[in-house]
């Protein structure tokens, strides 16, 4: 279970659980017998039988077409249709062989696409866990009404207590933030101005802590943002939201 270590406004720190928050399942699929079905990932084709491999072997597309008609070279019946689970990500070279000593680089580009810098990819360590210094109480409170108009919150995590003491600790933080109707800026570093890194090599976010209470219960949510709510400097031609998934 991931953890987060943080201070409260009184300068006391604690390590608590940090849990994923995702969207609840709203649609289930039932078979004709009314039983819920599951999804499975299966192999369609392996790398040694993809188009490039077939071109190398047969020469051109016309020859490949003939081969597909006569021999099914694109299909390995021992492999196609096998369930894929517990997979690993690997890199392959141009010869489709697994690369064991890969070098990762980052090319940073400006909004216009020009190259800004090129560097070896760093894999930063997380800075919110129980083994890192506690995140400071930044004291930067942003009213919710302002925050939603300045930042885009793309992910959320929920802070949860692990015992009675941390229940009191988190409940008090939630109550304090609720009474101020504000989000607390939560960041790394001594000035809370460093982005949060939740997982090794993971994305970097600005964190905003929101608290709500209901009777003796509380919810303390870490809203994560990597985008401000603002227009790009140069307006592009209108772009249909083609990247939206079909819903």
């Amino acid at each position: 279970m991931p953890e987060i270590s943080l201070f409260n406004s009184a300068g006391r720190d604690a390590v608590v659980n940090l849990q994923s928050v995702t969207t609840p399942l709203r649609v289930r699929w039932l078979d004709p017998q009314g039983r819920q079905v599951g999804t499975a990932r299966v192999v369609k084709s392996t790398l040694d039988r993809d188009l490039e491999a077939l071109i190398e072997k047969h020469g051109d597309l016309r020859a490949i077409g003939a081969a597909i008609r006569d021999q099914d070279p694109e299909l390995d019946i021992e492999t196609a249709g096998r369930l894929l689970s517990e997979t690993s990500r690997v890199y392959v070279d141009r010869g489709r062989k697994i690369v064991h000593r890969a070098q990762e680089w980052e090319v940073i580009r400006n909004p216009d696409g020009t190259e800004r810098t090129r560097r070896r990819k760093a894999i930063p360590d997380p800075n919110v866990g129980g083994e890192t210094p506690p995140l400071k109480w930044s004291g930067v409170l942003i009213p919710k009404r302002e925050a939603v108009r300045k930042f885009v919150f793309v992910q959320k995590m929920q802070l949860a207590h692990i015992n009675g003491l941390t229940y009191d600790f988190l409940f008090a933080i939630a109550k304090e933030l609720e009474s101020k109707e504000s989000l607390l800026l939560l960041g790394g570093g001594t000035k809370s101005n460093q982005p949060l890194i939740l997982r090794r090599g993971g994305s970097q976010f600005r964190g905003f802590l929101e608290g709500r209470t209901k009777g003796e219960t509380y919810r303390l949510v870490l809203h994560l943002s990597n985008l401000e709510l603002k227009a790009p400097e140069e307006k592009d031609s209108p772009e249909q939201p083609a990247e939206e998934k079909a819903t």
Binding site: Q19, R109, R145, A231, P232
Partner: protein, 205 residues
């Protein structure tokens, strides 16, 4: 010209063109390059659990399996909601004007995990609606690009500069926690003004 998103606001229909806003447009973007020891570019692939089968991009797919492990086509399946009722498809939001009749507090917007943001531009006179949004009003509406079973949540709001945006996302479920209970995890998957401005520097990430 892309088809506009049309809102029904009171007795008026207001059409908006949508311009996607993302990190690349605001701050630039990062590309990853992976090189082998000869300096040649490599590609990402998937290694199966047998340690031998390598699957490239597009080499795998998803299918549906019954509880018995049998393959079943999607056409044979029935979509139902959590209560077991058959789900009726919704039309595309671009097929007809979308009524704007639900104002929500900031908390409702905060409960949504935003997936996409669009800047809105309109050839119509949207002054009265824009004025309302600049006061902090947020409208929520169901949104579906192509139409389908599960509409997303759309939010219409203005930023601090008064520009209009549409946020698209899905609601999240966060439980209130009591002393006796830990949260259910839904796995699916001291600064001055200058320092505060520094803390907000998104381009550093």
């Amino acid at each position: 010209m892309a088809k506009p998103l049309v809102f029904q606001w009171g007795d008026r229909q207001l059409s908006f063109q949508m311009n996607k806003v993302d990190r690349a447009k605001l701050y630039g973007f990062k590309e990853s390059e992976v090189l082998d020891d000869k300096g040649q570019k490599c590609e990402l692939a998937t290694l199966a659990s047998d340690g031998q089968t390598v699957v490239g991009r597009g080499g795998s797919g998803f299918g549906n399996l019954t509880v018995d492990g049998a393959w079943i086509e999607k056409a044979q399946l029935t979509p139902v909601d959590p209560a077991g009722q058959k789900v009726q498809p919704v039309p595309s939001s671009f097929a007809a004007p979308v009524p704007l009749n639900e104002k929500v507090p900031p908390e409702d917007y905060l409960d949504c995990a935003v997936r996409s943001i669009y800047q809105l531009q309109s050839p119509d006179d949207v002054g009265p609606l824009a004025a309302e949004l600049r006061q902090g009003v947020i409208y929520r509406f169901p949104y579906s690009f192509r139409g389908g079973l599960e509409p997303d949540q759309g939010f219409l709001l203005a930023n601090a500069e008064g520009e209009l945006f549409c946020a698209i996302g899905k609601p999240t479920k966060v439980e209130f926690l009591s002393l006796a209970q830990a949260a259910a995890a839904y796995e699916e998957e001291e600064a001055g003004e200058e320092d505060e401005a520094d803390a907000m520097d998104f381009s550093l990430m």
